[in-house]
Symmetry: C2
Subunit: 349 residues, 2 copies
């Protein structure tokens, strides 16, 4: 181990400058020199030290990926997308997951402070915007910051999000088009961006159709399975008739709801229609009608934007990716004929 530039110099008789030039493909070396140096490098099994390079160049090829969690299809798919693009451009990834224990801001600030990342990809910021401190720091260091999933105001942050409103509206329109008027909603947590946007989409579609989303048709959930169970139990326990269709604003809650219905012998879709949002893996197995979220594409877009900026290019500030309605058995329609697209690839510069 530990063969260094100097070893190559010693072996070839060239200076560090020349050898360095060869490594970095500088055009200022003769073909002959290059060949000889490369031969020596190969013979010695030399590889430049990343730490030394980073220190000397004052830039790295590391992208920091900071997620609240990893053990979920959503995060995994986004990471997958990021990794694809990073690999393509020879960037490396360093990942950190908050797990509700550490917080994302600290993680972000650390990688910035220690100056070892070229870009920052952050998913689902807890606050509405990154702390000014981090954004400022990143801007000073010319480290692009990409906020995935949630658009962030502020001039120095790129954001990649999806068209939640169009997705939710498309789902509502699908239900409305199939004659449902008595629609119950299990919405996500207030203050959560996706939840609020989806709720907006529901309201807009309902309003346009002249359908009332009355108080007793709305249940508050938290985007986790248990909250879907709870919501459904509350409905069933009122004694009032269930809505004809139930739109859980994410699949996890829809799955929780389905479980309760199954336990109580309520048949889906015969007795009630249940639909979700996200299109997680299980949704397919449960034949759940849902809205597909372009997770991998979001990851790819995020990495692409970051790398473009790092390499000195320009990118739009906000990318909004389309969602897609996926019709399966749980809404009682014919899946064949109605797989339609909701929302378009919009870009706001």
């Amino acid at each position: 181990m530990g063969t260094t530039l100097h070893d190559v110099c010693r072996k070839t008789g060239f200076s560090t400058a020349t050898v360095s030039r060869v490594i970095n493909n500088s055009p200022l070396v003769t073909k002959r020199t290059r060949t000889r140096v490369l031969k020596a490098i190969k013979a010695l099994g030399y590889h430049p030290s990343r730490a030394a390079r980073t220190l000397s160049r004052k830039r790295s090829d590391m992208l920091a990926v900071i997620f609240p969690e990893i053990a979920s299809g959503f995060y995994t798919e986004v990471l997958r997308g990021i990794d694809e693009i990073a690999a393509e451009h020879n960037f490396h990834l360093t990942t950190a997951f908050a797990h509700g224990q550490r917080d994302e801001h600290t993680l972000a600030l650390q990688s910035l402070n220690e100056q070892w990342v070229a870009g920052l990809l952050i998913l689902n910021l807890f606050e509405v915007s990154l702390p000014a401190e981090a954004v400022k720091l990143a801007a000073e260091q010319r480290v692009p910051v990409v906020s995935i999933d949630r658009p962030v105001r502020g001039p120095h942050v790129i954001s990649i999000s999806m068209d939640n409103i169009a997705g939710a509206a498309a789902m509502m329109n699908h239900l409305l088009a199939h004659g449902y008027r008595d629609i119950g909603i299990i919405r996500g947590p207030r203050g959560n961006y996706d939840a609020d946007q989806r709720w907006l989409g529901c309201q807009q579609a309902a309003a346009r159709a002249g359908v009332m989303l009355t108080e007793e048709r709305i249940q508050q959930g938290t985007f986790v399975e248990g909250s879907g169970r709870l919501a459904m139990e509350r409905w069933l326990d009122t004694g009032r008739p269930l809505p004809k269709a139930i739109f859980a604003c994410n699949d996890a809650m829809a799955i929780g709801a389905l479980e309760v219905l199954g336990e109580r012998g309520v048949k889906v879709p015969e007795d009630v229609t249940v639909v979700g949002f996200d299109d997680v893996d299980s949704a397919r197995h449960l034949a759940l009608t849902t809205v597909r979220v372009p997770m991998r594409a979001m990851g790819r877009a995020a990495a692409e934007a970051a790398i473009k900026r790092i390499l000195g290019g320009e990118t739009q500030q906000q990318h909004v990716l389309a969602t897609q309605l996926v019709v399966r058995r749980s809404c009682g329609c014919d899946p064949k004929k109605s797989k339609t697209v909701a929302g378009g690839d919009r870009m706001k510069g």
Copy 2:
């Protein structure tokens, strides 16, 4: 940005050595000095540069995680476990996924060659053992290599695996105990470690019970959903009666099989019992009886072993974690009474 040690020196009047000592919590500084230096550090917003540190110390706090894939519950959970332990010990993670495009060996060698990782965690090596080259390199650099999922021979590699044999045997015994003798197996790909071990477990249990696993009861699968579908279709298309119970050696194949059965109107568990192995997320929703694999625990064990070695401690070479039988509706038994443990935490030193 870019405040350095020197800035702190200038501000406090102390030398780089003293300031460095403060940063590194050396006991050779007076309380008073420490306080003053810390104050200056805070005032300046100073943070040591990771690249400089790594270069100077000749060691890093990076763990490289090299997986064949990420978009699957299995890898995700392992990564989750690794991350938990890494965070606990203030280690950082750098991840690389092969995606069938890049190969794991190259990825592993690169991080070793560039000398920027303190440990290597590799999942599911394609070859039976790491290439000697990489192992040698790692050993020279005192970089521990941990092979997750597959035990690796060779003195310099730690391996973390699960008790596939006991798990498969436990499943077989469960079926046998419930009176099944006509058991079909969809096995995994030959040459795949997990597949071969599970198959061994099946055979052992069958042999002990004096049950024949005849040729026509065995289907070859590849551990992916489609291969489970295919296997089931082949069975159904022979016209012969289906086995009474079908043990798909992973959940993906079991899910594929369930799909086909559903499509053809064969009821589970009324007409046929289907069980799997892994306990992926969907298994719960499908009420699939299966064998739980300690994914997160494997990740934790891997990171723990690596870090222990890095910090100069000793660890066993081979860790084998227990699997657990999870009984659900798909085998027609009462889930309540038979959630049992299969295999024990064994350690071979």
